[in-house]
Amino acid sequence: MNNELLTIALAEPSVIIRSGMAVALKRIPGFRIQTVEMSTLDTLHNYLRLHKPDILLINPVFWGYVDIIALKEDTSNQHLKSMALLYASVDASLLRNFDDTISIYDSLEQIKEKLDRLIESPAPDSSDESNTLSLREKEIIVCVVKGQTNKEIAQELFLSTHTVISHRRNIARKLEIHSTAGLTIYAIVNKLVELEEIKKNMLI
């Protein structure tokens, strides 16, 4: 499960298509999606001035030609991806500047594939191995909750600071815990450390 919230701006004049699309997007497994809906280009411009969605899904023909490049330049959001929402086949030249298209006849699987490709989410790796901590990672957790800096950990375990940082990133990903306070709870609950060892850091 990708825990990052994905914001999708949905610019489509038909309330039926728009609502249907929003519901379909919510059903796609593996994503946390927040859709923001709008039915006019004016609203879209106002919205893009204030917000930075990840993806813009837009009807490419209803308002005439939508200049997606100008739209992107107008907002200060370089990472904005664009997708065209199609009812029927459309002249390819109109779609040239879009990153991808979604047809209203796409299946959820097809939409998911397109989203995966578009945001390059890491392949879901739910095998046991990828989510279990290695011995080394456990050692590092112990050091972290004792209050050691990355540099001190590197010295104690004979690693480079860079390696320590990459281990810490993997730990955060595997456990979905990012804060030291959270790791402390994890370490105590799983008996990686004794409470006595870390008391002075916790200021108990």
């Binding site: 919205y47 990012h178 804060s179 959270g182 916790m202």
Partner: protein
């Protein structure tokens, strides 16, 4: 153009709650108390000196369940909206989060646990609350006064409402972390009802905080942006 909205001023207040119980929270934050009888939304608002269009805007925004940007909020009272947001902050900080803290302590301090989990969890929870506090306090002390001054035509040139965008994610991620620790890593034994109860509270608080952020990001901020825009073109 006024769009079709789910609730209107002539609906009965009691119907509104029956239709969507999450609106209970809104009613409390406007300082309304129950015993509405058959009064309509408009009547209840008048009796309690509440701006009816603002009340309806929030109720309709929240009950839709989706976010759409087409509605123009030019008939709402910004001071009323700010009162509502301030009351929501007070609700979280002074009522909801302390209540969760108490339940959490009770759940993790079961007598058969030989470790003082209470201390560890409270520390984590208190860090979380202090972040929520920092964020909400910034809105109460900086953002709202800026907006109220703007309404009086005294705009602070150093600040604009778009500066106050997208601060909400950090708060949510910390609550998700607490939830993960309890669901995935806490070696529960003994009284599981207490733990279930506190998890349930955390989850509903998470949803409630998210709706609160949505009101700020998609109703409050665009409304203020429109005023900033209007004032800057007046000159």
């Amino acid at each position: 153009m006024q769009k079709q909205q789910k609730f209107s001023e002539n609906d009965k207040m009691s119907d509104l709650i029956n239709e969507d119980h999450s609106l209970l929270l809104v009613i409390g934050r406007f300082g309304l108390s129950f015993g509405f009888g058959d009064k309509t939304v408009k009547e209840v608002c008048q009796l309690n000196d509440i701006d009816c269009p603002t009340f309806l805007a929030i109720v309709n925004f929240l009950s839709k369940g989706n976010i759409e940007m087409d509605t123009v909020y030019d008939n709402i009272s910004i001071p009323s909206l700010i009162d509502y947001l301030r009351n929501s902050h007070a609700y979280f900080l002074e009522f909801k989060l302390p209540a969760i803290r108490n339940k959490l302590l009770e759940a993790v301090n079961a007598p058969d646990q030989n470790l003082p989990y209470g201390v560890i969890f409270t520390k984590f929870f208190d860090e979380y609350v202090s972040e929520v506090y920092k964020h909400m306090n910034y809105e109460d002390k900086v953002v709202f006064p800026y907006v109220l001054a703007l309404l009086e035509g005294k705009k602070d040139p150093a600040f604009s409402i778009s500066d106050f965008e997208e601060h909400h994610n950090e708060i949510e991620s910390k609550l998700i972390e607490l939830k993960n620790i309890l669901i995935k890593y806490y070696p529960a034994k003994g009284n599981n009802y207490l733990l279930t109860e506190v998890l349930f509270d955390i989850l509903s608080c998470e949803i409630d905080l998210a709706s609160h952020s949505h009101v700020e990001d998609y109703l409050f901020v665009p409304a203020i942006e429109a005023i900033e825009h209007e004032k800057s073109t007046e000159k």
